[in-house]
């Protein structure tokens, strides 16, 4: 009886923690293509589609792979089959204009982690040059961020101070942004209105708050040796990976990770 009472208490306990819950309705979906070079020693470039969802106060930016796998969007999608796969871009960036905060979340199997940054991280210099990107008149702006210098093209025709990845703070949406070495190039693919608006809710009380450095370390640990990481989480305790394969797998992943020497944020 006492046990039942205790369980009931646990189940219906109100979180005493500060509520870090964000709710929004997304009205627009912006699609970018990211061409990037993770290995500075190779000329090979990879590309991925990235999605920026825009709401009144809150926006979310992530790789398309995550959007398709996201249960919230899945409902909006009517549950259709997706063919998303593995991405190299693990961070989801949620910008809150009202609180002037930026939440960066990374999912490493079993757990969502996040770290918080101030929204206005960028000192922009606006230049007078303009051009047209897909019927939008865009203007040039430059900034530097995390060890790279960037050139961005934004449009005042879309009056949201947002853009791909963490970039924001211009008087209009950034349609294109690239670092001077062209290692990371975000280009504009499309902007679509979402009808009906997509309901979005994210509760950071269910996420683990930590630092950018810790997340990078945990993610690296997982990607280098997934079986060990997952087993350390107490999952499938009885299961054992063939040690020879385990070793080969770790060697292959270590090699793959060593080639990822050119992340978007250098410092």
């Amino acid at each position: 009886m006492k046990l039942k009472l205790f369980m009931l208490l646990i189940f219906f306990s109100v979180n005493i923690l500060a509520q870090e819950e964000l709710k929004e309705k997304f009205n627009y979906k912006v699609t970018y293509k990211l061409d990037f070079k993770l290995d500075s020693t190779s000329a090979e470039k990879r590309s991925e589609y990235m999605i920026l969802y825009l709401g009144d106060d809150i926006s979310q930016f992530s790789s398309r792979a995550y959007v398709l796998a996201n249960p919230i969007v899945r409902r909006g999608n009517n549950g259709s089959t997706s063919r998303a796969a593995v991405t190299k871009f693990f961070t989801k960036t949620i910008k809150d204009q009202g609180a002037s905060k930026m939440y960066n979340s990374v999912f490493v199997p079993m757990t969502d982690f996040f770290y918080v940054q101030e929204l206005r991280l960028f000192d922009w210099e606006i230049h007078s040059e303009t051009k047209i990107i897909k019927d939008y008149k865009v203007q040039k702006a430059t900034t530097s961020f995390a060890g790279r210098d960037y050139m961005a093209w934004f449009t005042t025709e879309i009056p949201v101070s947002d853009g791909p990845y963490k970039f924001n703070g211009l008087p209009g949406l950034i349609l294109e942004i690239a670092d001077t070495g062209n290692d990371y190039v975000f280009s504009f693919i499309g902007l679509e209105k979402i009808t009906p608006a997509l309901t979005y809710k994210i509760n950071f009380n269910q996420y683990i708050k930590t630092t950018q450095e810790d997340i990078a370390e945990i993610l690296h640990e997982y990607r280098r040796d997934p079986p060990t990481y997952v087993r350390a989480q107490g999952i499938n305790t009885h299961r054992k990976v063939d040690p020879e394969w385990h070793k080969k797998m770790v060697a292959a992943f270590t090699k793959m990770l060593e080639k990822e020497n050119n992340p978007i944020e250098l410092e």
């Binding site: 046990l3 189940f11 757990t111 606006i126 009056p159 008087p171 945990i218 060990t228 040690p243």
Partner: protein, 878 residues
């Protein structure tokens, strides 16, 4: 560190000396609500470039600093969904209030071309060339390296911790879950790409209706016509060992085939490669699995790899053919034949505890097992956009025979068992749209037949069969038949956060059991107590419904299923001229809830009510000689059991500290109308009967565990403990006893990556099992197991493993078992070959000594092992 600034000021083309103007203000919507994130721009006039800008904060406030010589400035405030506000203002510091009015005008859309969304770009498929190492031979070697993919020791493939749904080769599902065969034998050189289809729904009709959590794998080949395969040959000593395997395959656009032949006498399990991992949709209640009515006396198998104890001589042939008949329609045939001859040597000492006595039985066992098994499956599948049809016809036949020889201090007993079996089943699954609803129809029909004969020489149970005098032989004959059909229709519907899936159906099963006992010279025992002519008819009409609920954040996960069934049982026995009937209307609710309490804590609770009714295996009136010293009968009403299960648990997980803890408790209580009575004779002969008498069973189980990963040492430490306590009533030699059991288990392991060339694992397992009657404990056995493995990787193409094991128990005098094994692999680059050397059982331990106990007996056994053996194997792919 980056400078953080809320308002950024930029001035273009300005000269020193201009005075600075501060324009501040607040932005509201038409309901006077603050608008945050509105863009505020200052320019010379409505068309010229931006002089300065700002973005409104949480309170809608903005502040813009302008340096301009112009007398007037143009202020522009915009916000999505509102008309842009524009106004000329004086170039003087001022505070403004701006109210925006809603506008229905949307942003100019740039529609993303659908092929971009649909396309399977490089990120969605993996080029084999990019992942292929020089030591990789078959496609499984590549798959193991792909992110998210994990292959279990039995060969089952998991993606992100979920088993994969389908394994396609060029989009065709040849192997139906027996994908090990392709995965382990298709040369990596023949493959161009591996595609992972995440959230793959293999049934096209369900594509936009039912979300799939599972992924599938598609193997893309380099050529239109591919011929590939692997070959393995191994030799060893002593005695002479061989191991061969040949697996050729061919793939074309419309036809695919994989054939395999394998043979060995090394104790290696060949059936692993044709194991079926497909996810079955039906047939949960009815199947064509074989029922073994009779058996010869066995020694329990050791708990380690069969390669060290199984004395076999096996041949396996398997063919898998797929033909694409027309668009979306495939015909598949999978057929396999296995022939094996196994020898088993050992001895057991069994001690029975009855409330008044203890009885010891010592047996030396020598068994010969002959296995001959044919399995086939013919599948027709039509996977079209508008409907789905799959019909599977399955055939299982086996012609197995066992010969057993028991040497006891006082007697020598021969046993001969023939147990041929035949089973046929047809499974049909149909998906059709009826109105706006997609209905699933399933039909599962099957037939099995088995005639089993057990001959025991000399005959046992002399008191029962021959007035206490010895006699030469006894033969039990069993003839059983079963025919069933189960048909249902159902659908799944999502209603907001809830999903309901009702299902309506009926099933009928008819079973016939005829048994006879013969003594010397085929003389039949005519007493009706030793005969059965049983016909058992079971029918059921059911309505099953399950409701699922998940909230948006997935912090709540609820599942409730509420199956209602009307069950009817009718048992007729011609021999006894008796009929037993039972009609029951049953409700079996099953409830499960999981709640994520915070980022670190999670709790779950479940409750379930279940009914169990007698199966024909516990329904025959007349005695059946199940084994040479087991005589069973159930001359009682149809058994009815009500089970209640409850469980609750709590998990803690801190991934930052890599610490995981869990604890759970579960309670089972069941009530039954039949009590089982065992009468144990002096020489270990056991007569089991059922007696109509209400009784119950109770079990408490506690579990706890934790694991911690030490980052710096790359070491995982794990500890798990469980404790079980149970109580049941039993009639032992006609005395009612309450049998109590207590068991405790502790497991621990350390896995360490000591350096890049050395990995070490250690695991230990300690358990105790205590049983007793009423208040007295009569037996406690402690067993322990320690395993240590070291893996050395001196070079990329070489690998050496050394393993040591210890097994011990507190009961046996010489119960210590030690083992050492060695393995070495060398990979040649040219020609592409793997050489594998293994030396098993280096200490040449000849037998495995084991002990275990049950409610009222314990068994000490000794199993003869394979001697110290060396085996060299060469494997190449083509």
């Amino acid at each position: 560190m980056k400078k953080v600034s809320f308002l950024l000021i930029l001035i273009l083309g300005v000269f020193e000396g201009y005075s600075q103007t501060d324009i501040s203000g607040q932005v509201f919507d038409d309901h006077n609500k603050n608008l945050s994130g509105a863009t505020v721009m200052i320019s010379k006039d409505s068309v010229s470039s931006i002089l300065a800008y700002g973005i409104s904060d949480a309170n809608g406030r903005f502040k813009v600093k302008v340096k301009s010589e112009s007398n007037s400035l143009f202020l522009k405030v915009s916000y999505i969904g509102f008309a842009t506000f524009g106004k000329f203002i004086q170039n003087t510091s001022q505070a403004l209030e701006v109210q925006l009015s809603p506008s229905s005008e949307s942003l100019k859309e740039v529609i993303v071309k659908s092929e971009i969304l649909q396309q399977r770009g490089d990120t969605l498929s993996f080029s084999v060339a990019a992942f292929k190492g020089k030591n990789d031979r078959v496609i499984a070697d590549i798959l193991k390296k792909l992110p998210g993919i994990d292959i279990r020791p039995n060969g089952q493939i998991f993606y992100k911790d979920e088993p994969i749904q389908k394994y396609y080769i060029e989009g065709l599902d040849l192997l139906e879950g027996r994908y090990n065969l392709a995965n382990n034998n298709l040369s990596a050189d023949a493959v161009s790409k591996v595609e992972i289809l995440e959230n793959h729904q293999p049934v096209k009709v369900l594509d936009s209706l039912e979300f799939s959590e599972r992924a599938s794998i598609n193997i893309k080949l380099k050529k239109d016509v591919t011929v590939s395969g692997t070959a393995t040959a191994g030799m060893g000593t002593a005695p002479l060992l061989w191991q061969t395997k040949l697996t050729p395959m061919i793939f074309t656009k419309k036809r695919q085939a994989i054939v395999t032949y394998q043979s060995n006498n090394t104790g290696s399990d060949v059936s692993g490669e044709i194991r079926n991992f497909s996810i079955k949709y039906f047939g949960e209640n009815f199947n064509i699995d074989k029922t073994d009515w009779l058996s010869i006396q066995n020694v329990s198998e050791p708990p380690f790899s069969a390669e060290r104890w199984l004395d076999n001589n096996v041949h396996l042939g398997s063919a898998n053919i797929l033909q694409r008949v027309k668009k979306d329609m495939d015909l598949k045939l999978n057929i396999s034949y296995l022939n094996d001859y196994q020898q088993q040597d050992g001895s057991t000492q069994t001690r029975y505890f009855t409330p008044t006595d203890t009885i010891d039985v010592i047996e030396k066992t020598n068994n010969n097992i002959f296995v001959s098994k044919l399995e086939g499956e013919l599948t027709l599948e039509n996977n079209a956009d508008k409907n789905y049809f799959k019909n599977q016809l399955e055939f299982n036949g086996s012609w197995n025979a066992n010969r057993g020889f028991i040497d006891r201090p006082d007697a020598q007993i021969k046993q001969q068992l023939a147990h041929p079996f035949l089973g046929i089943r047809n499974d049909l699954r149909l998906l059709r749209t009826v109105g706006k609803q997609l209905i699933t129809f399933t039909s599962n029909t099957g037939f099995t037949e088995s005639n089993q004969d057990l001959l025991v020489q000399p005959g046992q149970f002399e008191e029962v069969f021959n007035n206490g005098d010895p006699y030469a032989e006894i033969k039990q004959r069993v003839s059983s038949r079963k025919i069933y059909t189960d048909n249902s229709a159902g659908f799944t519907k999502a209603l907001g956060k809830f999903t309901i899936s009702p299902k309506f159906g009926f099933s009928i099963q008819n079973q016939q059991l005829d048994t006879d006992i013969f003594l010397e010279d085929g003389q039949e025992v005519l007493d009706t107590d030793f005969k059965n002519r049983t016909e058992f008819l079971q029918s059921s009409v059911y309505f099953k419904n399950s409701i699922n609920f998940k909230n948006i954040e997935e912090t709540w996960n609820l599942r409730l299923s509420t199956p209602l069934q009307f069950k009817s049982f009718q048992l007729e026995d011609e021999n006894f001229e008796d009929t037993r009937n039972l009609d029951r209307f049953i409700f079996e609710p099953d409830f499960y809830v999981k709640r994520k309490l915070s980022a670190y804590w999670e709790a779950h609770v479940s409750a379930r009510l279940q009914y169990g009714f007698g199966e024909i295996q516990q329904l025959y009136y007349g005695f059946l000689l199940n084994g040479y010293r087991n005589l069973n009968r159930y001359n009682a009403p149809i058994s009815e059991e009500i089970q209640q299960n409850y469980s609750a648990g709590l998990n803690f997980r801190n991934p930052l500290k890599q610490l995981f803890l869990n604890a759970s408790y579960s309670y089972n209580f069941s009530e039954s109308n039949l009590l089982y009575s065992s009468t144990i004779g002096e020489n270990g002969t056991t007569i089991l009967e059922a007696v109509a008498r209400d009784n119950n069973f109770e079990n408490h189980s506690f579990r706890g565990g934790g694991s911690k990963y030490f980052r710096k040492m790359k070491t995982t430490l794990k500890l798990n403990a469980s404790y079980n306590i149970s109580k049941r009533q039993q009639l032992l030699n006609n005395i009612l006893a309450e049998v109590n059991t207590k068991s405790f288990n502790l497991r621990g392991s350390v896995d360490a990556e000591i350096s890049s060339w050395l990995i070490a694992n250690y695991s230990a397992n300690f358990s105790t099992y205590t049983s007793g009657f009423d208040d007295s404990d009569f037996q406690q056995i402690e067993t322990q197991q320690h395993t240590i493995d070291l893996y050395f990787y001196p070079k990329d193409n070489q690998y050496l493993s050394v393993g040591g094991e210890y097994y011990g128990n507190s009961l046996s005098d010489n119960g210590d078992n030690y083992f050492v094994n060695l393995g070495y692999q060398f990979t040649f680059e040219k020609p592409k070959m793997d050489l594998n050397l293994s030396w098993r059982n280096i200490l040449n331990t000849d037998a495995f000594i084991n002990a275990y106990n049950n409610e009222y007996y314990y068994v000490q056994s000794s199993y003869r092992l394979r001697p110290s053996q060396v085996l060299a194997t060469l494997k190449f792919s083509f």
